[in-house]
């Protein structure tokens, strides 16, 4: 069809269907809610990023020169809270998931559209509480809120932040609930479970963790707020309470939460590797099963955060061996992604650069995780920068790489426009280099004994800290570049066709940007996912 005929026949897309603030703030269209979430999580990513810059500036010098100790304590706490609860957990599911899940399932919208909009308002409300706490003076308990410091000894805004985390947890529950019901009940005709794209398997597994884990952090922050607000001792040792019980309740959620953060990114990577190799994922069923296995086994390992906390050595041993088990599905995924490239038609577009970056960095993150789960080693490296490096490799090297890869992969579908190839590839490269320069030195610092949350450290470690801070500035530049060219592309970017990458998947069979009801007619699925046949490929 020539462009003129297409313009006439094409129904207005979800962006042009309606205008005005009300059309955005009262929308129940999952695609618009995804854009609302994109704005909200980006705001918190900037906030968390500013605190990260402050931390790296402070650590340039062994003495606490840039700020007082209690200021530094608030800065690293707010960096943690903003990044984890308001960016890493919601980013992929609420932005890319909200946009793509209904389309990939072949439905007109999620099962509960009003609940979906409510989840955004709950997210913003939780964010408001936390922002209030930040502006009013911050909180200095660390993102882990360990008692009895957080309940009795800290005189900062712990209750406000705790309630902020309590509220934003419900946004996560609502999203998880929506995805589970949509994937179970609203699949297009012919779309059996084993024809689902791996992005949906990953989000189904993530939703299981959201549903089964988030309520426990909700009750934990509630008990924290009750103990602090009414001055009664639930975790207070003087009254017979046990601070280690708080840690059990906290980590019961917070370890599965790291799988909430990384599983969606794994789903994105499966899509990217398949699309840019134009080949079905190697071992589709094993990769799909691995996602669910991670979600389930992820609930049996939380004690590896508490090996030196006063937990019994026998419980620690059980948690350690189960932590080895939970690492196997991740290894399976890595090997399957690599094997997918074999005899593929690999093109190194920007999303693929992020995917390959993810595979490399997540491997290092995962392997150092196994090292931390090894009992004898964790005693020495627990609560040191070795741990900081590990979780940044998995979160920044993994989840954020996956988020950026997914964003660049589906940007043409979301905005209907293409972004410049050169700048996007340059940004991906800068991010990869800056990231490694920032966090690899921290492994070395960690094993030498640099404790977490210290801003005064022995002089002999300054060189590594300076390297890390230098890396952080490169990483910061890397993150800023996409903001410019993506916004630029919305107005000036060349029009992207329905299928700019020549990829398989229901989302590429509708227009870019898609109409409000996603498909002109409900699609019928007849083939395996990632079915690439030479004659069928239509580019542009």
């Amino acid at each position: 069809m020539s462009t003129t005929e297409r313009a006439v026949a094409e129904p207005p897309n979800y962006l042009s269907a309606d205008y005005g603030v009300k059309s955005w703030l009262l929308t129940t269209d999952h695609k618009r809610i995804a854009i609302l979430y994109l704005v909200a999580v980006t705001v918190f990513f900037v906030i968390g990023g500013i605190f990260a810059v402050l931390i790296r500036l402070e650590l340039l010098t062994p003495q606490g020169d840039l700020m007082q100790s209690d200021t530094y304590n608030r800065v690293f706490t707010m960096h943690g809270v903003a990044m984890i609860f308001f960016f890493l957990i919601p980013s992929i599911p609420a932005v890319l998931g909200n946009f793509m899940v209904p389309i990939m399932v072949g439905a007109r919208d999620l099962a509960f559209p009003k609940v979906n909009l409510a989840s955004w308002y709950v997210f913003v409300l939780g964010g408001a509480f936390t922002l209030y706490a930040m502006i009013a003076g911050g909180v200095d308990t660390g993102w882990t809120f360990y008692t009895p410091f957080s309940t009795t000894f800290s005189n900062t805004h712990v209750v406000a932040t705790g309630l902020g985390v309590f509220i934003v947890g419900f946004a996560s529950i609502m999203t998880g609930l929506n995805f589970i019901v949509t994937i179970h009940r609203m699949r297009a005709p012919g779309l059996t479970w084993f024809r689902l794209p791996l992005f949906l398997w990953a989000h189904y597994a993530t939703s299981l963790v959201m549903i089964l884990g988030t309520p426990v952090i909700a009750i934990t922050t509630l008990l924290l707020a009750v103990e602090r607000g009414f001055k009664i001792g639930i975790f207070d040792p003087a009254l017979g309470g046990d601070p280690v019980l708080f840690q059990h309740l906290f980590w019961f959620y917070s370890h599965p939460a790291v799988y909430i953060m990384v599983l969606p990114a794994m789903g994105v990577i499966s899509e990217l590797v398949a699309a840019f190799s134009r080949k079905a994922i190697f071992g589709y069923k094993f990769v799909a099963g691995a996602s669910v296995a991670i979600a389930i086994l992820g609930f049996l390992v939380w004690g590896h955060h508490m090996f030196v906390s006063g937990q019994s050595v026998y419980a620690a041993t059980i948690f350690s061996v189960l932590s080895m088990l939970v690492a196997v599905p991740s290894a399976v995924k890595i090997f399957n992604w690599a094997a997918t490239l074999y005899k593929g038609s690999v093109s190194f577009d920007t999303p693929m650069l992020y995917a390959l970056g993810f595979i490399g960095l997540f491997t290092i993150g995962g392997l150092t995780g196994v090292m931390l789960a090894t009992l004898g080693l964790d005693v020495h490296v627990h609560d040191t920068y070795f741990v900081v490096a590990h979780f940044h490799y998995v979160m920044v090297g993994g989840t954020i790489m996956g988020y950026l890869g997914g964003l660049h992969y589906w940007w043409p579908k979301i905005s209907g426009r293409m972004y410049p190839k050169f700048w996007s590839k340059l940004a991906a490269l800068i991010i990869f280099v800056g990231f490694n320069l920032t966090f690899f030195p921290q492994f070395l610092l960690g094993y030498m004994g640099m404790p977490r949350r210290y801003h005064v450290y022995p002089e002999e470690w300054q060189v590594l800290h300076v390297l890390s801070s230098a890396g952080a500035s490169i990483l910061g530049v890397g993150y800023i570049i996409p903001v410019f060219y993506l916004i630029w592309s919305m107005r000036y970017g060349p029009r992207a066709g329905d299928n700019p990458w020549g990829a398989a998947g229901l989302e590429w069979q509708t227009s870019s940007p898609p109409p409000t009801h996603n498909f002109v007619t409900t699609p019928v699925v007849t083939t395996e996912p990632y079915e690439y046949k030479a004659e069928e490929v239509t580019v542009g």
Binding site: T214, L223, L239, L249
Partner: protein
């Protein structure tokens, strides 16, 4: 009486799909409630095993008679709710309205009895915090018991209040005959929620009131 709103939402294909989605969504929500109260129950179990003496002494302060009456009241409300759901399935408007009101009344009765109990604790200075007074042994863990008592029963009572509020929201629609064989999942889902709140009390009552009742302090 065709209601103004269409029965089938735009993004569903069939009424069955809509009802099954609502039901599945409700059950998944109830799982989050199970884990939410689960965090409290594990705290109670752990502390009970660590400070047996204090928890037995504390639980002896509770009024078993009022607790038992409240259990009976809540089980009755489960019955009336089940009958209300049945009425909505059959489109029997009068029975639905009557038994929804009955359920609300029983819920309010439960909250009334709970208020009496709380007032008793307040009078005996057993509310944790600065005014807590305990002359026997182990004041620390007795206060811990009452902290958990108030958080657990308070959270349960809050869920009761939300439940009664939802009945108030469902009542006018039921009166207008909105619910029938084709469209009754709002009542059915609310019934699941109400039965869940009853089940929480079915466990709270023995855990708080009955365990250790035979041991002398």
């Amino acid at each position: 009486m065709a209601s103004p709103q269409p029965l089938l939402a735009h993004h569903f294909d069939t009424l069955d799909q809509q009802r099954e989605s609502a039901s599945l969504g409700m059950w998944v929500f109830l799982i989050t409630e199970v884990m939410f109260f689960g965090g409290l129950f594990i705290a109670y179990i752990v502390y009970r095993t660590r400070s047996h003496a204090g928890f037995v002494a504390g639980s002896h302060e509770l009024n078993v008679m009022l607790g038992a009456i409240n259990t009976v009241v809540l089980i009755c409300s489960s019955l009336t709710m089940a009958i209300a759901v049945r009425a909505s399935q059959l489109g029997d408007r009068r029975t639905l309205v009557r038994f929804l009101v009955l359920t609300a009344i029983l819920g309010l009765t439960f909250l009334g009895i709970k208020a009496v109990e709380y007032q008793e604790k307040f009078a005996h200075h057993l509310v944790p915090g600065p005014h807590f007074a305990w002359h026997g042994t182990t004041p620390g863990t007795v206060q811990l018991f009452f902290s958990l008592y108030f958080v657990m029963t308070g959270l349960h009572a809050l869920h009761m209040i939300v439940g009664i509020g939802l009945i108030a929201w469902l009542l006018p629609r039921s009166m207008r005959g909105r619910y029938g064989p084709d469209y009754h999942h709002p009542i059915e889902c609310f019934g699941l929620y109400w039965h869940f709140v009853d089940i929480v009390w079915i466990f709270l009552f023995p855990l708080l009131y009955l365990l250790g009742r035979s041991e002398h302090v």
